[in-house]
């Protein structure tokens, strides 16, 4: 966008917003919730490790954020919405 680049600044050019619904295989244990695998655009991605977890509140509901690295060493951010019980692929890093 020109507005952002006017000062020669890129808003983290490698991060792309996706915001698409995805199917996720998860593990529940010890009060924790971890994504193991997700499917986006008919492709399956295996989560190698969860590098960050945090929560945001939406009224009485919560958005659980997960920063994950896939087996291919690509970065994705997933969000679980406790209101809709839906998973969203929020972002990815185009360069991995």
């Amino acid at each position: 966008m020109y507005a952002d680049n006017f000062y020669g600044m890129d808003a983290d050019a490698m991060i792309q917003d996706i915001n698409e619904s995805i199917t996720v295989l998860i593990k529940f244990s010890g009060g924790h919730l971890d994504p193991l695998r997700f499917k986006w655009k008919n492709r399956v991605f295996d989560v190698d490790r969860v590098t960050g977890k945090w929560e945001e509140r939406e009224g009485q509901f919560k958005l659980h954020h997960f920063a994950v690295i896939t087996r291919e060493e690509d970065y994705y951010e997933l969000i679980y919405n406790t209101r809709t019980m839906d998973w969203l692929l929020s972002k990815t890093d185009l360069e991995g």
């Binding site: 000062y7 020669g8 945090w54 690295i69 060493e73």
Partner: protein
Amino acid sequence: MLARGAHHKLSPGKTGAHKLIFHIDMDAFFASVEVMCRPKLKGKPVIVSGKPAARSVVAAASYAAREYGIRSGMSTVEAFRRCPHVIAVSGSPGQYIYVSLELLRIYKEHSTIVEPYSIDEAFVDMTGTECTWENCKDVAGEIKAKIRKRFGPNLTASIGIGPNKLIAKMCGSMDKPDGVTVIRPGEFGGVFNGLAVSRMWGIGAKTEIALNLMGVATIGDLANFPVAMLRRRFGITGEVLHLMACGQDDTPVTPYFEGMPVKSMGHEHTLPEDTWDIMEAEKVLLRLCDQVARRMRKKQYLGNVISMRLRFADFDSISRQRKIKYYTDEERTLYKVARGLLHQYWRPGQAIRLVGVNCTGLIKVREWHQVDLFMQREEDAYRKLLSAIDAIRDKFGEHAITRARLITHDASGDIDDVPLPPGLSSSPFDMLRYQDADDHIHTGGK
């Protein structure tokens, strides 16, 4: 694992002759959290700056970005000018709060007295725990190892250990990143006397200039400067400056909830005529306590830190606070504590011009159950953590971080950050005030 310091008690007014205080400061915190999530950012110049725009400000810079002269508080435009290929990340405040609370949980395994000082800094009072001057470096190493185990190698802390908060804070920035520095009782002067006064915690640009004009260049100069002259120039702050330059500080490490006085409720009253009569001041105090308690009940707040403020005829003022063991909204409790403080700190002969009373450590009555749970139950740590996040959100609001940034930015130029006298309640933004110590005050950091 070390035993918890269960026998700790806060005793304001008591000087900490034999205290053992840790200051734990995360290195380039926001940038490091981003690197933790996206390991490929490691070693690259990264800034956290919100959405880059003409007026956005760098909230944190990775060490690689600092090599280009980028500092937090700088405008994003300037950061890009200094390093055109810097990676600007918008940042996830929710995640920073989350990590911050997890860190506090680690510290609390070592002492019950943990004070969050900003989102990435905390004081831990180790006095009376198994941590001693002999093994404190090992304990610091243990804390670092726990952080590494929990968050991986990209999130590091620098730890300063001293006999009070001032010294712990000041030596914490001497070996950044990932360092441990210990200054034992009596060693302060030897380490700091030769350094510029600007290296003192809390001395801002304006105070520095004022001191330089008085011929005070180093911390040692300040320690040896006549207190009376400091007092004439800076008021009561002059005495605080003197004590600080001598490495003295008896402010207690104030644990957890009272460390985040988001809101306060208080009233002040200027007397029609200055008075030397303490009974007169008591009467005013009682009426103020009545008003404050009524307002707290109306707004459904309970509080557990009560402060009393006096301004004298010469416009000097003092503010002293005391934490009580339970939460209250009753005027008799407010009055009992405030009156005690009045009697303790007023000196006969000081003419009183203004009296004030203030209650902080506020929680909503409906949160009381939640906080009670948080503070007393040991099991189910995860739920406690969640309720803590909720409590912070409820209190600060989702936009607290943005507002805090504005304040930090201002503070670098306009507000002269003279230290508050001990006991004066802290800013509502303290918890979320983000600035790396090595960026702002102690520019000598690596």
